[in-house]
């Protein structure tokens, strides 16, 4: 029963949602829209559970002063402060002058941008480490990477003699082998996705439901 009911629900709901693509009637769309709204409500409700989990995992570490408890304390304090300010500010929280907006503009935006900016440095170290011409494929990868990087910026176009040809070579690399490879990945992944979806809908895949 514990496994059968979820399987039946998966099957029925899966069929109904697949059917939406093929059945244009507004009465059918009303059913699927309703199901989608239920999904959104469930997902929103899960945020409360996520909040509970954050506290559940981190508060005992702070109370027991285990390793790195200071970081957890900062996280919990930030969580509470942001939550209270957001609730207190209400629907006008995104207005200028509101504390919530201040938190967003002067804490969230710079922190978010900083994390993204790390990518520039990590790409440099990953590229330096990974792009070695160990074999033919690695050499092709290396050559393509250098050509595309040079051609994407004005300095590449300014190189005498080859500068005019670099964008053409780059466009060929991006338009032909790159797209061919991506399309192959898209098609393979799409078929894999259909296969996985059908396995779940048809009840062939049960590893997410528990023991036999």
């Amino acid at each position: 029963m514990k496994r059968t009911v979820p399987l039946i629900i998966s099957f029925i709901v899966g069929l109904v949602m697949v059917g939406e693509f093929f059945i244009p009637h507004y009465k059918y769309r009303a059913v699927t829209s309703e199901l989608l709204e239920w999904g959104l409500i469930l997902a929103a409700g899960a945020f409360i559970l996520g909040l509970v989990n954050l506290v559940q995992v981190n508060l005992p570490v702070v109370i027991q002063k285990k390793e790195d408890w200071g970081y957890k304390l900062v996280m919990l304090i930030t969580l509470v402060v942001t939550l209270l300010i957001g609730i207190y500010s209400g629907t006008g929280r995104q207005d200028d002058g509101e504390h919530y907006k201040w938190l967003f503009d002067y804490m969230f935006v710079p922190l978010n941008a900083t994390m993204f900016a790390l990518l520039a440095f990590y790409i440099a170290s990953a590229a330096f480490r990974a792009f070695r011409a160990r074999n033919l494929e690695a050499t092709l990868l290396l050559a393509a990477a250098i050509l595309v990087m040079l051609a994407r910026v004005p300095i590449g176009e300014a190189i005498p003699v080859v500068g005019d040809y670099l964008p053409k070579v780059m466009n060929w690399i991006m338009d032909v082998p790159n797209i061919a490879g991506r399309r192959a990945i898209f098609i393979g992944a799409a078929l894999g996705a259909v296969s996985t979806g059908l396995r779940v809908i048809l009840g062939l895949e049960r590893s997410h439901l528990g023991g036999e």
Binding site: R29, L36, G39, L40, A44, T91, Q94, K101, F104, D105, F108, V109, P110, N112, A113, M115, F116, A120, F121, I123, A124, S125, A127, F128, F131, R132, A133, L142, A145, I146, M149, L150, R152, V153, P154, I155, G156, E157, A158, P167, M174, D175, N178, I179, R182, R183, F186
Partner: protein, 282 residues
């Protein structure tokens, strides 16, 4: 020499990071401004927008966050400036929760510059949760997707929304997208179904993903990353100049230049060291 080359191959990442930091800071302090050619995909986007008539309605989906702001904000600003200059009516919505506080000041700033009236010339419908589901709703019934706008007005009552019920009622859709949900979801979910004209400005890392859509005609224009934003800025501000405007992407191209060059030099020297030490070992 051999020892040096061997150590160079396993150079501490912190030296690599320091070199990168210098490559980023130097061009900011000493800009060079290399000339650049406009990409064909950006030109195509620009030309289509030049065909818009006053009163045409365009939907702009602003789907980016602070992380992708440097790449996409220049395009977003230039795009709004372009369309306001052509008296096109602009309806903006967002599928990313952190986009509204970012884009609201930009929209109000540009609207004020052009004397645009909220509700008649432009409207910001706010954030809609739901990813692909939200996009399907936008395609199917945008009023249902955004029952009230960002200022708590009833969307259906806004004059600009007169005659607009579905995505296909707009002349075209601009997707300023940093990832998911974004351009790909618009193309996959509603472009084919409603035969929509969609163009995209996206981050550099996502651009190769959308080139097949452009080649297949599912996107009529594609501005990729900082270079794409810079090309579009150049086109827009040449034809619709604004005094004192800061062309952010064009200025940032210098940083891209040196950054790319630094990575290429690192890779080349790394490989030289690799081959020389391999020869010695053999």
């Amino acid at each position: 020499m051999y020892q040096f080359l061997k150590r160079f191959q396993s150079l501490d990442r912190r030296w690599v990071f320091l070199g990168m930091a210098i490559s980023i800071v130097l061009p900011m302090l000493f800009p060079v401004h290399f000339p650049t050619k406009v990409d064909e995909r950006v030109q195509s986007l620009y030309d289509r927008l030049e065909e818009l008539e006053p009163g045409d309605k365009v939907f702009v989906s602003a789907d980016f966050d602070p992380a992708s702001r440097p790449e996409l904000e220049p395009f977003f600003r230039a795009n709004l400036h372009h369309m306001f200059s052509r008296d096109v009516d602009i309806v903006i919505g967002s599928l990313w929760p952190f986009a509204p506080p970012l884009v609201t000041p930009m929209i109000e700033d540009l609207a004020a510059q052009h004397g645009a009236v909220y509700g008649e010339d432009y409207a910001f419908l706010g954030f809609k949760m739901g990813n692909e589901l939200a996009i399907k709703m936008i395609g199917d019934d945008i009023i249902k997707a955004f029952p009230v706008d960002s200022r708590e007005n009833v969307t259906a009552d806004l004059p600009i929304m007169n005659g607009i019920r579905q995505a296909q009622d707009f002349e075209l859709i601009m997707s300023v997208s940093a990832g998911f949900p974004g351009t790909k979801e618009y193309v996959l979910q509603i472009q084919g179904q409603y035969n929509l004209e969609i163009a995209s400005s996206t981050t550099a890392v996502s651009t190769p993903d959308y080139v097949p859509f452009y080649k297949a005609g599912q996107l009529f224009g594609l501005a990729g990353g900082m270079p794409g934003s810079a090309h579009y800025e150049q086109l827009v501000y040449e034809d619709y100049p604004v005094e004192g405007v800061r062309m952010m992407a064009t200025q940032a191209l210098d940083v891209l230049n040196l950054g790319h060059l630094y990575i290429i030099i690192l890779i080349v020297f790394g490989n030289i060291a690799f081959f020389l030490t391999r020869e010695v070992e053999e």
